[in-house]
Amino acid sequence: MPKRRVACWITLAACLLTGCWDRREVNDVAFVVGSAADKEKDKYRTTLQIALPGQLGGVGSQGGGGGTSGNKPWFNASDFAETIRESSLEQQKSVSRFLYYAHRRTFMIGEGLARDGIEPIMDVLGRIPQNRMTAFVVISKGPGYRILNADAPIEKFPAEMIRELAVNSMKNPRTIKHVVNLILSDGIDLVLPIVSLKKSIPGPGEKGGKSTIELDGLAVFHQDKLTGLLSGKEAKGVLLGMGEATRPEITIMAPGAKGKITAVFPFISVKHQPVIQGDQITMKIQIRASGTIIENESNLELGRKHNLHNMEKVLAQTIKSTVESGIRKLQRKYNSDAIGFGKTIYNQLPKEWKRFSGRWDEMYPKVKVMVEVHTHIEHSGALIKPFGRRDRNIQK
């Protein structure tokens, strides 16, 4: 029995003494909430946004240093080195707490770095288990660290604002996981949202206004390299064509009346269907959109069936031209198969794909695109007639 007891104690001691080696209290950790990677000549510059819980003004932090005296609750550490990881280590030298990446939910890639290719930097994001594969990836217009320095008064951290914007950018926001997946897939190229700085209108007694962050179109890739930035109508068109647009709003001239009408389409289904005759590829894109009117600036009465019908037609036409303009840009200018025509062929006609896969880059710009749009307005909101217009001014 004494032997047994000794064995017990040794086991217990071994258990307890070998523990604790990686013990890290919450307040010994520097939470990286967002980061940006840029390229400066041959070196990488990484910028880490570190949350400062002491400045967050949480309950029970009265004793904490500083309190909430208007200081920003984050701190940006920035340094450059030969590799991404090395530059992080450079920062660790100047950060007294252990840099902890598990709460990094946005990863921003600078435009310059993206143009040089993002293949080399993906490895570090996957190799350490601490890194979240579900961090959203965005491209910054200009160097990334500037955007991390924005005031972003709406959210606690600029990184948080970037995250919220990224979530709204697409139906399936692109995370590190998706990005790697898309780089590795044949017949489809990467599209990422762009964020840029924006100045707000200065309030009374304020100088220069506050800087915030805005979603500013789409960054289009060919393989792992950024080839172009789309914005406005073209960006919307590409998203619509991909079926990734979140609640797109379409504004049209009211048919047969004066003024404009805006409709929103929460329900959109997009079907891609390749038709192949010899070497001629035709891609049919069928878009079915149903939505509601959210603004009627015109004098058109929407209660009339023919008015509604005409309007639906014009909406369909507008969506069609938007999509076509986006795809034209992709095909002609950036040679980026963002919608994944190649992948559609691979999925639906795998035998045909074998013929094209080797020379897809040449084939892609020649693909004929046929867009077919059906729109359906389910209702015109809470109003039928234009609100606040005299009857005699209303176009029936």
Binding site: C15, L16, E25, V26, F31, G58, G60, G65, H103
Partner: protein, 533 residues
């Protein structure tokens, strides 16, 4: 560590105990004969002398000389206070002193029993030690000149607490009677509920000085005879100077004394005991305590409350689940908090981990120290609240909650989340209906906290594996502690995680009951009958 718990009696040991038991019965007589074994003498003075020697310096013993029918001298001896003095007056003294019926021959004890004493329970005894025993148990000893025997008149009485609502196990719905300190009242409370000839109540006397009456109650033909035999064996094997509470017997009879988990259930409620007997378990009553032991037990019944069976089954099941969840919370929350906040910060939502970090910013201690401070203070508060009179107790808890909760956070000694964790844990541990099981859970929380502090979630898993292994290993009178799940019994599933409606619990739980299995008629529910027709 597991071995530490494994110390239990082996069967051989029990056998030896049994053999000693027979000797111990001899010992009982020897004890009584401390006084010297002697027969009752025909000389009254000699008898009085002998008994007085035994009861030397016992001021509560009353010796009363009297004369029956003007001719025969007699002596009564009893312990003042434990006998019913009304009975003595009305049924012994008045008939003996005032009545003058002719008694043929002489005034013999036999004649007195037949003609004079108007009591139902009386015996005749001839040995002094037995008589001493009887007197101590609340009998009146009546010696008559010239006869070598003594009449023992049973007039047990004395003031005892009356039946009241059990304060430890209150219910919203259900009987409000609770056991009292009087054994006879307690068995009567049970008999009120089980008017069955199957209900057997076997008497034992345990405790060489206390001579405590103990009763083993069970339903013959429903309880497992093997278990009953084992219980009798263990009861007989007990040799101790005194039994003041059922807890003594619990410790002397349980299989694994080092386990934190109770291997008996105790209750103050007669309806609970009746319910347990109907499932095929047995109960042990001890004179002088309102707590009755029942066994064998399983871990599941520790989380079940009496009311589960009285409320409609949907409600019973819901409440049972609530308790299961809160039992887990009571056991695991502090450990989880420590593990997550010291090792697994990645497991929390970012906003939560940041506000956690914010509230911990000024805390000087690591999470485990913080948790220990709060948990110990909480346990102390609870303990203080129990020991104090009820009115002050509440004040203490409120004061403690305010002072400890608010001030400690403001002073930066503990963080606000820790206060929340400790309060949730406290509330959760109060939802467990069986106090002895709740204590086990509360105690096991601490090793889990240390394991979490040393090894994180991995440590919690190790701890839980330990606990589950131990539970698998644990037995109460040969019945596996986890029976129902391990070994799996389909029949018992109706009363573990859910409480099946009464018309559906057709058989008694198989682990306790091997014979006479049916509990409810097949077509117990009106709708079932209609379907038949």
């Amino acid at each position: 560590m597991l071995r530490f718990f494994r110390k239990r009696r082996n069967p051989k040991q029990l056998g030896r105990d049994l053999r000693e038991t027979n000797q111990s019965q001899v010992n009982v007589d020897e004890y009584a004969a401390n006084v010297k074994d002697a027969p009752v003498s025909s000389d009254l003075d000699e008898n009085e002398q002998r008994v007085k020697e035994v009861f030397d310096h016992c001021s509560d013993i009353v010796f009363r000389r009297l004369v029956i029918n003007d001719e025969t001298e007699a002596l009564i001896i009893f312990v003042d206070g434990i006998v019913n003095s009304d009975h003595i007056n009305d049924n012994i003294l008045i008939p003996l002193l005032l009545e003058y019926t002719t008694i043929p021959d002489h005034v013999s004890p036999e004649a007195l029993q037949e003609k004079r004493v108007s009591l139902t329970q009386l015996t005749r005894m001839t040995r002094i030690p037995k008589i001493v025993d009887g007197v101590l148990a609340g009998n009146v000893a009546l010696f008559v000149t010239g006869y070598e025997e003594c009449l023992m008149l049973n007039v047990i009485g004395g003031t005892r607490r009356s039946v009241a609502e059990p304060s430890g196990e209150t219910v919203i719905r259900g009987p409000r009677e609770g056991f009292v300190e009087n054994l006879r009242t307690n068995t009567a409370l049970l008999r009120f509920r089980l008017k069955s000839t199957r209900l057997k109540t076997k008497p034992f006397i345990i405790g060489e000085e206390t001579r405590t009456n103990v009763v083993l109650a069970y339903l013959e033909g429903i309880a497992d005879p093997g278990v009953i035999e084992e219980a009798e064996k263990r009861l007989k094997a007990i040799k101790i100077d005194g039994v003041l509470e059922t807890g003594y017997l619990e410790e002397l009879m349980e299989e694994q004394p080092f386990s934190p988990f109770p291997q008996f259930q105790y209750t103050e409620r007669p309806d609970t005991v009746a319910g347990q007997l109907l499932e095929g378990k047995f109960a042990i009553f001890v004179d002088g305590t309102p707590f009755v032991l029942t066994a064998p037990v399983t871990v599941w019944q520790m989380i079940q409350a009496t009311e589960d069976y009285y409320e409609r089954f949907l409600i019973g099941t819901t409440l049972r689940w609530l308790r299961f969840i809160f039992a887990a919370i009571a056991l695991l929350t502090p450990a989880m908090y420590i593990a997550i906040s010291t090792y697994h910060q990645d497991m929390l939502p970012t906003t939560l981990v940041l506000s956690l970090a914010a509230s911990r910013e000024s805390i000087p201690f690591p999470a485990i120290v913080e948790a220990m401070i709060m948990e110990i203070v909480f346990e102390a508060l609870r303990e203080a609240g129990i020991r104090l009179p009820r009115t002050i107790g509440q004040a203490v808890s409120i004061l403690g909650a305010l002072v400890i909760g608010q001030a400690a956070v403001q002073a930066g000694i503990v963080s606000a989340p820790m206060v929340i964790i400790v309060s949730i844990t406290g509330i959760a541990s109060f939802t467990i209906p069986k106090y002895n099981f709740a204590i086990a859970i509360r105690v096991l929380r601490f090793p889990l906290m240390f394991l979490a502090a040393a090894l994180g979630l991995f440590g919690i898993v190790i701890g839980m594996v330990w606990i589950v292994l131990h539970l698998c290993h644990l037995r109460s009178f040969g019945v596996p502690y986890l029976s129902g799940i391990s070994p799996y019994q389909k029949n018992m599933m109706k009363d573990l995680f859910v409480r099946a409606p009464w018309w559906n619990m057709k058989y008694r739980p198989i682990t306790f009951n091997k014979q006479n299995r049916r509990r409810v008629e097949l077509q117990a529910h009106p709708t079932q009958n209609q379907q038949e027709e």
